[in-house]
Symmetry: C2
């Protein structure tokens, strides 16, 4: 029954990732050991090591999991036929990230912030993070080009520069949410929409 | 000669902070010990502990140092009589941060990213970071109110929401600079200016 076995393996893998998110979110990347993840998962050490050889492997898998679901989100955003606005794309992305963060097994945005710090001193995490973030930012460049076609973004603009700023709003949202606790996708995208509706904004 | 002594103490303190920035930037917050900072500073243990009792104290002092110079920057920005635009305020802030980052003794933006991660598991760092960031964001709220008075920001907008987004662009800049290496204050503020000059941006 190879199909059942594959499904079983996939579920086990998700359980281990949820356990890892819980540990990293609670105690940080450095203090989390494979033994913590094993204990949190309730599986045997052999079972866990059968899926992931190291913490770096686990962090890479968490990043993959989150960002492949974000890829799907952008496919949906770009497939819509309505004129695409930057504030609406930001709002949809933030809503999606918070929906993922609320899933059982630990807020992955806490893991993301750990990964940023870890990337500065760990080549494997740096390689994962930079390639994933480049891909995610590429989605915002696609949003910018679509906005230019739809007339919601200046046609003279460099879409890569617009993408830097749109993508760059996300870490600031996550950080304010975890450190200051007073931002929501609604307040943040309202702030952007207010800026974009400025009467005389070009400078 | 109390004046000379004060100046001497202040310089010593700056030397220790520079040594700490170097250590944390190189090896991360967790792997940095007080012994590393002492060794990097070239001072005696007694001398260093005379200024700082712990790593947490040092991180708080680095945050103070950086953010008090940012306070001065905003006083300058808000004192100017020219109409204040959000993109110009962002550009000035980023230029200022990179100027501080280029000072001898280690890039403090690397320390900032370590502090974000550390804040999630360390109450002292959390308290420092959240109060400093709240203050810094307050400067952007002042920029927003000034922009509303000058007609560069929609008068109907909530300045606190605008501040969330403007402040929120900074962590994303720092992260892209360190992880992707391809953003500059010029490219980033050009991206924002392009968004703000959108023909039909309200959504």
């Amino acid at each position: 029954m190879p199909k059942v076995t594959d499904e079983h393996r996939a579920n086990r893998r998700l359980e281990i990732l949820a356990a890892a998110r819980t540990c990293v979110g609670r105690q940080g990347f450095h203090k989390t050991t494979m033994a913590d993840v094993i204990s949190q998962s309730g599986l045997s050490a052999g079972a866990v090591y059968g899926y992931f050889k190291s913490k770096d492997d686990i962090v890479a898998a968490i990043a993959d999991e989150v960002l492949s679901s974000v890829d799907e989100l952008f496919q949906g955003i770009l497939a819509s036929e309505a004129p695409l606005s930057p504030a609406a794309a930001l709002r949809a992305t933030l809503d999606h990230i918070l929906e993922i963060a609320a899933r059982p097994g630990g807020d992955m945005t806490r893991v993301a912030i750990q990964a940023w710090a870890e990337a500065l001193h760990n080549d494997a995490i740096m390689a994962t993070a930079s390639s994933k973030y480049r891909m995610l930012r590429g989605h915002f460049a696609a949003v910018a080009r679509r906005g230019q076609a739809d007339g919601t973004i200046d046609r003279e603009a460099d879409p890569e520069q617009v993408a830097q700023v749109l993508f760059g709003m996300i870490p600031g949202f996550l950080l304010q949410r975890l450190l200051l606790g007073d931002v929501t996708p609604a307040s943040y995208s309202a702030g952007l929409a207010a800026l974009l509706s400025a009467p005389n904004a070009r400078s």
